[in-house]
Point group: C2
Chain length 192, copies 2
DNA sequence: ACTTTCTTGTGAAGCTTTTCACAAGCGGCT
DNA sequence: AGCCGCTTGTGAAAAGCTTCACAAGAAAGT
């Protein structure tokens, strides 16, 4: 949001304005920010540039995060070509797949590697994140292999609840569940 | 989870077992379910078949939801070929794109339609959901058009906060933010 | 029939998050 | 300088969510 305000030439922004854009309340915006420090000026609001920079540091976006993509299928290829990742500092440093037909093919500058190399690739490239875009049946195994190799976090697209050690954050993307959330809300609303 | 337990031949399941699988607590499972009714047997747990069926009804999955896909790009094509949607009752009934090169092409049984037809397609096919896989700059316009046509819910992949009337649920999928959540947790953990 | 073993459903307690409301501070205007 | 209109940062109150703990019920064995 702050970047889009920058593009529109905004210099300062109030908690009220941020709240309206983000569908929340001004008090919530201020309370949340206050947990990390005091970034605004009374009577004026927040400096858009400064707040953006501070948030980037808080979120850990002041560095490049090397990412390994596992699973060169339909969702994997869409993600690989998604330019927003790189713009935010997430750089795909390796692609891994188990299908012999796909291994050796080039995607951009990268050659698709066999699953056997996953562990050594993570170590050599010091990858911090893996994106898991493999079938549900393979996901747990790939996750364990990545954890063994010292990965720091996992973005999981497979519709399974991964079992990983405490301290390794996992974010799950389950699109069927997102649709189910919509169905549920629509069903509820129509029953009032 | 219940379906995977069914596949493994499980007949009953306790709140404790569900909690372990889902990384939550037994009390939480029981309290959540109790908001919708009383589905279990004391001393025995829940009947897997019955609980699955009851949850399907609660979530509104005892019907087919006609979906229109807007944006036949990289993410759109991955989603179109994703078999789990149809298995859960989400059936793609139309595909819409603005690119003249793409309009008229066939994806499976469906012909890609021009954006101008979006409103009439939603009305004619009684579509309840749209999946928005268009560039951020086009998302708000497509959302408004869909709402005008009487859509009931929106699954939005564009990295913008859509402004829609109250009562139209929107679920946002923002993959960059998922990665940022991982970066944040890793950054925090390393600062302790 | 009685005891043992399990597990649910749920008030009450404990904890977290959100909202309220206002003193304190900034900038511009007279 | 003094006043006025805004907006932050934050304790305190309100609301919401999670955990505790246990009575009540179900099955299985004796
Ligand atoms: N396609 C979508 O829109 C979509 C959406 C949400 C979630 N998902 C999930 O993402 C995952 C992938 O979906 P997809 O549609 O891209 O499937 P896909 O079959 O197109 O691709 C999966 C890829 O993973 C590879 N693979 C299989 N086992 C592997 C292993 N052990 N190591 C490395 N690679 C392996 C396969 O060779 C294939 O290239 C699935 O779990 C699916 O449920 C897909
Ligand atoms: N590719 C990814 O992995 C990915 C991941 C997450 C989010 N997204 C988001 O999803 C959206 C689409 O991404 P993509 O990578 O598929 O882009 P893309 O450019 O491959 O596809 C976008 C498609 O939308 C069409 N389009 C443009 N304006 C339209 C309009 N007004 N009506 C109908 N169709 C229109 C284009 O012709 C194109 O076919 C973007 O907002 C992107 O930020 C993409």
């Amino acid at each position: 949001m702050l970047e889009s305000i920058q593009d529109d030439g905004g210099v300062t922004v109030s908690s009220e304005q941020l709240a309206r854009r983000g569908h929340t309340t001004a008090a919530q915006v201020r309370k949340d920010l206050s947990h990390f420090g005091s970034f605004g000026k009374r009577g004026l609001g927040y400096s858009v540039d400064e707040l953006r920079d501070r948030l980037r540091i808080i979120l850990g976006l002041d560095q490049v995060w090397p990412v390994v993509l596992v699973g060169a299928g339909r969702i994997g290829s869409a993600l690989f070509e998604y330019p927003d990742f790189k713009r935010r500092g997430y750089e795909c440093v390796a692609i891994v797949d188990s299908n012999p037909e796909k291994i050796g093919r080039k995607w951009g500058e990268l050659v698709i590697q066999p699953t056997a190399k996953l562990e050594s690739l993570i170590k050599e490239l010091c990858a911090t994140l893996v994106i898991l875009a493999v079938p549900a049946s393979a996901a747990q195994l790939v996750a364990e292999c990545s954890v063994n190799a010292g990965i720091n976090g996992i973005l999981n697209f497979a519709p399974v609840q991964l079992q990983v050690p405490d301290g390794i954050p996992v974010e799950n993307v389950n699109l069927v569940m997102e649709l189910e959330a919509l169905s549920f809300q629509i069903t509820r609303a129509s029953k009032t």
